[in-house]
């Protein structure tokens, strides 16, 4: 039963707001559903990753277009991943990225190449919205898109992009994030970068930031640890993209997956304001909300959703609900008291 799992990027979710720390939940939901569609923020743990043939790795812009019904997903055996490097990355740090790509070719058998650098530094800036969610921009989107188009023309069927991100190792926000109590300040800008490429090129793309290693923090939260194991955040992106589905808008084929086949959407209870969730509500896809605190409070109550929401206190409970839906069981029959039947007058 195709199931959509969303943990919006950059809103500080307790589960999924750090370095791939929603991965165990995604693995469980994949097992319960048999087919989980989710996005890089869920699956990317920098040096840590997990590959599961039941998981479809779809970047956020593509995920929105899928949920709306504009695009379908076409599973593939492999992608040829072009590597796009920001010209603003220092040579030694850029070499680290290339070595990760070489390692993934040699040790994981991924098809990677070619590599291209942008013709100008991308000039990434970080921002925070009034809600507390992280956002961001880049000064040279034109340079990003030119490099992406070169890679596609050269035969890349997916793109891993690495941009130089601004650093402030002494900031309170970074300290809070590393100790497990803050919003990922990089996430919003990362999403903007990958959205731009997917919007223009309609191929799978995902982003890894280029940053200098941080000094050791003995209080490092385990959820952030995946980002402090190596010199880059790239390995998870390459693994995720290696079997990401194609994004198709025309000439649908048997086996393509579209939004009409969705059996459920699983989302943090306070994060119902994204385009994919709203699109699922339009087509009456069963909505499972999970208690997963974040900085947003766009809840079912706030939207006036009085019926049809399945509330779960954990991803374990959500997986049980997904399994019930997959088996054709009424979730209401699993709880007590069982509400009386309604009689129409």
């Amino acid at each position: 039963m195709p199931t959509l799992m969303l943990v919006p990027t950059g809103i500080g979710c307790d589960i999924g707001g750090y370095a791939g720390d929603a991965l165990p939940s995604a693995r469980l939901l994949a097992a319960a559903s048999g087919c989980l569609i989710t996005h890089p923020n869920v699956m990317n743990g920098a040096s840590l990753y997990w590959s599961d043939s039941r998981v479809l790795y779809v970047e956020g812009y593509g995920l929105d277009r899928f949920a709306v019904g504009d695009w379908a997903l076409r599973p593939v055996r492999r992608q040829r991943i072009g590597l796009l490097l920001d010209a603003g990355i220092e040579p030694e740090l850029a070499q680290r990225q290339i070595q990760v790509a070489e390692g993934c070719r040699a040790s994981l058998g991924l098809e990677i190449g070619p590599v291209v650098s942008t013709d100008a530094p991308l000039e990434v800036t970080l921002e925070c919205g009034a809600s507390g969610a992280s956002w961001g921009r880049l000064g040279r989107p034109d340079a990003l898109l030119r490099a992406g188009e070169r890679l596609k023309q050269a035969g890349a069927t997916a793109i891993a992009v690495v941009a130089r991100f601004p650093e402030d190792p002494e900031s309170d926000a970074l300290a809070a994030y590393r100790q497990g109590s803050g919003v990922d300040a990089l996430a919003g800008a990362e999403a903007v970068i990958s959205h731009l490429l997917v919007q223009r090129l309609q191929i799978p793309c995902a982003h890894a930031p280029a940053l200098d290693p941080l000094p050791l923090d003995p209080k490092l939260d385990p959820r952030a640890a995946g980002e402090e194991l190596g010199y880059t955040f790239l390995a998870c992106v390459l693994v995720g993209l290696s079997r990401a589905p194609d994004l198709v808008s025309a000439h649908r084929q048997p086996g393509d997956l579209d939004a009409t086949q969705l059996g459920a959407v699983v989302v943090p209870a306070g994060a119902l304001g994204g385009e994919a969730v709203l699109a699922c509500l339009e087509r009456n896809v069963p909505l499972i909300t999970v208690e997963n605190p974040a900085v947003l409070s766009v809840t079912a109550d706030a939207l006036g959703l009085s019926q049809g929401v399945l509330q779960a206190s954990s991803y374990s409970e959500a997986a049980g609900l997904v399994l019930a839906l997959r088996e054709g069981l009424s979730p209401a029959s699993l709880g007590r008291p069982l509400p009386a039947l309604q009689r129409l007058d």
């Binding site: 709306v68 809600s131 969610a133 956002w135 903007v192 385009e275 709203l278 766009v298």
Partner: protein, 61 residues
């Protein structure tokens, strides 16, 4: 091409049901440029029952 971040607040019209809210928000934001990324980040309710939508977005203006 220039990317711009924006935040807007809109009264949620009583005649726009939830199932039409996504399209309605897109229409409001489309007036400002090509929409790249957006989210409804808060819904504020007043004592008289009126609701205000807070939307954050990045557009290509």
């Amino acid at each position: 091409m220039r990317l711009t971040s924006l935040q807007r607040q809109f009264p949620w019209p009583a005649d726009v049901p939830l199932v039409e809210l996504r399209s309605w928000i897109r229409q409001q934001l489309a007036q400002e440029g090509d929409l790249l990324r957006w989210a409804l980040t808060a819904v504020h309710s007043s004592a008289d029952g009126a609701r205000t939508l807070q939307v954050e977005a990045v557009i290509n203006a």
